[in-house]
Amino acid sequence: MTTVLKTEDLRREFGALCAVDDVSVEIDSEEVTSIIGPNGAGKTTFYNLLSGRLDPTAGEVFLRGRSGELENVTGLPPHDIAQRGLSRAYQINNNFEGLSVLDNVRVARVSTTDRSKELLSRYHTDDELREAAEDVLDLTGLRDVAETEAANLSHGDKRKVEIALSLATDPAVVLLDEPTAGMNPSESEEMVELIKELDETTDTTFVLTEHDIDMVLEISDRILVLHRGELIANGTPDEVMANEDVTTAYLGERQ
């Protein structure tokens, strides 16, 4: 097992509320890990702590990114953690709306290849950049809409741009936040197939949060269950489904 992402006693308080309560996990680079839990369980806060958007009240985060070493990234700013190899896709579409799909991905590539300070080269005529971006579009099935302005895409395509952006930086780990949010069943199917394919064809480790339990069971090698900020289960799909604490948490919430 190679740990690609790890937290130790990660904690985040908001005043009297404890949104993430001493969570310790190790995410294996070979596995697809899903995080589930009722609403308000702390999944988004957990993601924000991992990506650097929030600082923890206590505890630490470790990332094995580009350097190949497991580094302590606690408290680093988001762009720094992103540069080290952690990428994130959002629940609500968070693209560069006024730019074309191709340009969206180009931005990611420019950042990854550390070219954002280049003042005089012309990016339109840069074939290497274009090809790298188009490769990502091919991976995510967006080649046909490359020149379309992101704002004008269908919801499903916008979700794909979301994924494309998070992959375009060649990350070690991608955090997907409810990738099938707002999708109809056939779009969700497509997304699931896409994630499976990407997991097989790239070196990137996928972590996702989801409400769609069927999807989670189909796609995950490991499931983490959060409830009121605490990690109440950590195991294979079978183990987790058989876990009484998990059923109590979900059933209890439904009242």
Binding site: H79, F96, S100, R106, V110, L119, L129
Partner: protein
């Protein structure tokens, strides 16, 4: 801005054609019109430099006069106090001007570095307010003559002399000669700005404008990038500032540093359209020529603010992409390109 086109026309031929027109113009136009065209060139640089920060990076500065006027004042003070004692013989006026110009741009840069650092930490309205306050603080300092060198509200005269280069007389105060000085500086400067706008740096700027949080999530140090854009914008504004001072033969706080001067590139850019490279230039053209046109009709002249205000209102409400957006839309229609709405 996937622009390697100008208003929907291919970039290179259009730019070269425009340049050719600009080179020939002073030989066919009356002297006054050459003067007006000189102003247009300077204003175009001012507005395009400003737009590097606004249209491309999404930061609205209400204080660009501090670079425009600050650079101009540095030039003016140098020419007044230091130039007379320079030892370059007949070539002194030209050399003095060159040194003063570089000095002016350096001063603008020196102001931009700390101001930019502090300002980019703020969002939107607060960024605009902070740049406004720095600019008005400078205005007040110059207007009250706190440094003792700015001559308060009366301002400074900026007069260029004749140089004697190897027996050849070069009168920089001659309108046609100075026009070519301006063109010689503005053309390459605009080209560089164009390259910057179409560079990876420019693309990242646009990403930051669209969604700074996402840009950050992709690994971009947003604050640092904005700071860089700010300083670059100030440099080109400073260049415009040193060019305009001798053109008007004078500097004063009201004409160089007041917030109404900071408003000019804003107006021009909104007019012309902030989302294309050529927009601000189109805006500068309209701005200057409408003002000239208005002077031909005394009734309108007395009400130029009303005319401008109404035009801006119409543009903001009905044509957010400005005049250049409208022009591009028209060109696309004529050429049968698919296009986005104006």
């Amino acid at each position: 801005m996937s622009d390697e086109t100008i208003l929907g026309l291919p970039a290179r031929p259009t730019a070269l054609a425009a340049l050719a027109v600009l080179v020939v113009a002073p030989f066919v136009l009356p002297t006054f019109q050459t003067y007006v065209l000189s102003e247009v060139l300077v204003l175009a640089l001012f507005a395009t430099g400003f737009n590097l920060l606004y249209g491309y990076t999404g930061l609205l500065s209400f204080g660009h006069a501090m670079f425009f006027g600050g650079a101009g004042y540095a030039l003016g003070i140098f020419l007044r106090d230091v130039a007379p004692s320079l030892p370059f013989g007949g070539a002194t006026p030209l050399v003095a001007f060159a040194i003063a110009a570089v000095l002016g741009v350096l001063v603008a840069t020196a102001i931009a570095i700390p101001v930019g650092y502090l300002s980019v930490r703020l969002e939107e309205i607060y960024f605009a307010m902070l740049t406004l306050s720095f600019s008005m603080a400078l205005y007040t300092l110059v207007n009250q003559n706190y440094f003792g060198v700015t001559n308060g509200s009366d301002g400074i005269l900026v007069l260029l002399q004749t140089s004697n280069l190897f027996g050849f007389q070069l009168s920089l105060y001659d309108r046609v000669t100075y026009y070519f000085v301006i063109l010689l500086v503005v053309a390459p400067a605009m080209y560089i700005l164009w390259r910057v706008s179409n560079s990876p740096f420019g693309l990242v700027s646009e990403a930051i404008r669209e969604n700074s949080e996402r840009a950050s999530g992709l690994g971009i140090d947003v604050r640092r990038h904005q700071w860089g854009a700010f300083v670059l914008s100030a440099v080109f504004t400073g260049i415009a500032g040193v060019l305009v001072a001798p053109l008007h033969s004078s500097l004063s706080p009201g004409a160089s540093l007041h917030w109404t001067i900071s408003a000019e590139p804003v107006i021009m850019t909104v007019f012309g359209g902030p989302y294309s490279f050529i927009g601000p230039t189109v805006g500068a053209l309209f701005y200057r020529y409408i003002r000239w046109g208005i002077t031909q009709f005394p009734l309108l002249e007395a009400h130029w603010q009303l005319v401008f205000g109404t035009l801006i209102l119409v543009i903001v409400v009905f044509a957010p992409r400005g005049v250049s957006g409208l022009l591009k839309w028209a060109v696309d229609r004529v050429r049968g390109n698919g296009g986005e709405s104006a």
